[in-house]
Symmetry: C2
Subunit: 349 residues, 2 copies
DNA sequence: GTGAAAGCGCTAACAA
DNA sequence: TTGTTAGCGCTTTCAC
């Protein structure tokens, strides 16, 4: 008995406790221990309790590799952003991970990755390493990765960007409609000379939002001056630089639409430095509905996209696919809305 | 031959290719395949090439659970924040994950977790599930978790918060010194009526920064008025509310020190709403050196802590522990510095 | 209700 | 240089 105890102690230090150790102490076979641990009903309640007690005392925790091997599961969920580094704002990133983490069944691990560096390092993804994958996609380019996952039959859901070319579980928001409403909101308030700061050219959102504002302009016969269209990269600094450029423009503009809040904030900074008053001298409309947009001065009128809804719903259907083998295709579009604040002038006489 | 191919095809769909499948096709044993795949030198170059070719053709990828089981590795690195939800700013969170992801050897998975909800769901961590753990710690309360990891002999490094009570790999920044310098920076410019917005009471940073500003006050014989000390929670909104309170204070204050940039930004918003000019009416000093602090209006003077250095160094030593079994204790403190911008008045006559 | 035994896919020690 | 074999820790079928 003493000898046994000592052995166990050594084991605890040198290597982990296994079900065999527990079996030895409990005087049962390791399969019985397995049954107890898995709350099987093919086991006597008494023995189960006894075994569980011992397991607790020994601070047993299962070897997940062994369990996963026999169960053919990994309990890993990959969360893949187009890039963690470029074009993904801290607000967006945090919001996505937080929501997924909150919503995810706690038996799954959340493994965070950027497709850009992942595909550059690994030549391919290993299906056995992921029970499911969430792609938070910005770029059409991600399709290569997405298709690979699809081919490997790994449950997948693509968030944020609409995929039209092929069938896939896909949750996103109606950005086109949001931008369209936003531009009309500007036009209705008398704005005709509207500048735009666009986003990264390789991001689909840039194309979607661009065609939406162009459509709104065309419908209201607003002339489109290429000089007013600035290139940004979704980073604050690029908004700031674009703002500086806008100031140097020959023609006066009365409003600015930035493709995201961060760039709007950068532009506001540029305007303030030059003594321009917002919204008196220039109105600003952002996109995202980030937390910080509420605390700019003046607070930023912006188009909110429901990131949390998208992520939350995405997790829901991914888990449904994994656990219930549900394979009916799910495509859902959430609506965007304008948050009216104080950066747009109510009416320019 | 045709029969074989068909079998393989079915296998590819129904279950993954294994080294046995490759062995069968190559006409070698599965251990030879294993050798080829692991680039062993106990193998003929020709056979290696042939096997690798077949593996490539079949789009083989190893079953990580099986490999991990025999190697006693998981290739998982857990990144545990005190909380993902509360008190962790998007900027901080993004910066940490981004840096760790960049710096981490690509064979490791990064699993993101919040200690708060993790410990609530799982009763204990499984050593076999983590080759190493990075704790980005804010609360003393995390010690329970940290000690558990320590007991289980999982390589661990604790970032962000200094641990004095016990020996552990620990990387952090000199926040006390930063705050001390910051307050003196204010005092040197003539400020005596200084308000402070503190952070969450359960975060160690709050205590560290508090005793630092108190020390600076005491040394310069600045009287400490409890009315000037506001409670925040590191969120923007709490800074905003504190800002409102400051305005309603009986005595006029000339400067504000906020325990982080987000709260400083919130307070700036409150001040602006009330028509106060920064820094003419009130100077503001932040803490963190977040990206957004550069783009407020006016830009925020702040104490920068080197988050990237901390994370980068943390990853380095964790990998060193895991791969080189290096077990000499590593404790490192990075310096903070003041970023002088435009929210502090050069001199109040 | 329980135990014996097989096997998940892989690595590595030992033989040849 | 290669094949044979054992075994990692676990679940699960099949006997009893």
């Amino acid at each position: 008995m003493v000898l046994l105890d000592t052995n166990i102690d050594r084991k605890e230090i040198i290597m982990s406790i296994t079900i065999k150790d527990i079996a030895k102490i409990a005087g049962v076979s390791h399969s019985t221990v397995s049954r107890a641990l898995n709350d099987s009903n093919l086991i006597n309640e008494e023995t189960k309790k006894r075994i569980l007690d011992i397991a607790n005392q020994l601070n047993y925790s299962p070897n997940t590799s062994a369990r996963n091997l026999v169960l053919s599961k990994s309990y890993n969920i990959g969360v893949f952003f187009s890039s963690i580094h470029y074009g993904t704002s801290p607000y967006f990133f945090h919001n996505v991970i937080r929501t997924i983490n909150e919503k995810m069944n706690d038996k799954y691990n959340i493994i965070v990755n950027g497709i850009d560096i992942y595909t550059q390092k690994h030549q391919s993804i290993n299906p056995k390493n992921f029970d499911g994958i969430i792609v938070v996609s910005q770029r059409k380019q991600d399709d290569i990765f997405i298709k690979e996952v699809l081919e490997k039959k790994i449950p997948i859901v693509v968030l944020n960007r609409e995929i039209k070319e092929f069938q896939i579980n896909n949750i996103f928001s109606n950005e086109a409609e949001g931008v369209y409403k936003g531009i009309n909101y500007l036009i209705e308030r008398g704005h005709e000379n509207i500048a735009v700061i666009e986003g990264r050219e390789d991001f689909e959102s840039t194309k979607v939002r661009r065609s939406a504002y162009l459509k709104a302009f065309r419908e209201k016969n607003i002339k489109i001056n290429q000089e007013y269209i600035l290139k940004g990269d979704y980073g604050i600094e690029s908004g700031y630089k674009a703002g500086k450029k806008i100031i140097s423009l020959s023609k006066k503009i009365s409003a600015l639409f930035a493709f995201n809040d961060d760039m709007a904030i950068g532009a506001m900074k540029a305007f303030s430095e030059e003594g321009l008053k917002i919204p008196e001298d220039i109105s600003i409309l952002g996109f995202d509905g980030s937390i910080s947009s509420k605390y700019t001065n003046p607070s930023l009128t912006t188009i909110k996209r429901p990131i949390q809804d998208i992520c939350s719903y995405g997790v829901e259907i991914l888990i449904d696919i994994i656990e219930n083998k549900n394979n009916k295709l799910n495509k859902k579009c959430f609506e965007t809305c304008i948050i009216e604040r104080n950066s747009v002038l109510e009416s320019i006489k």
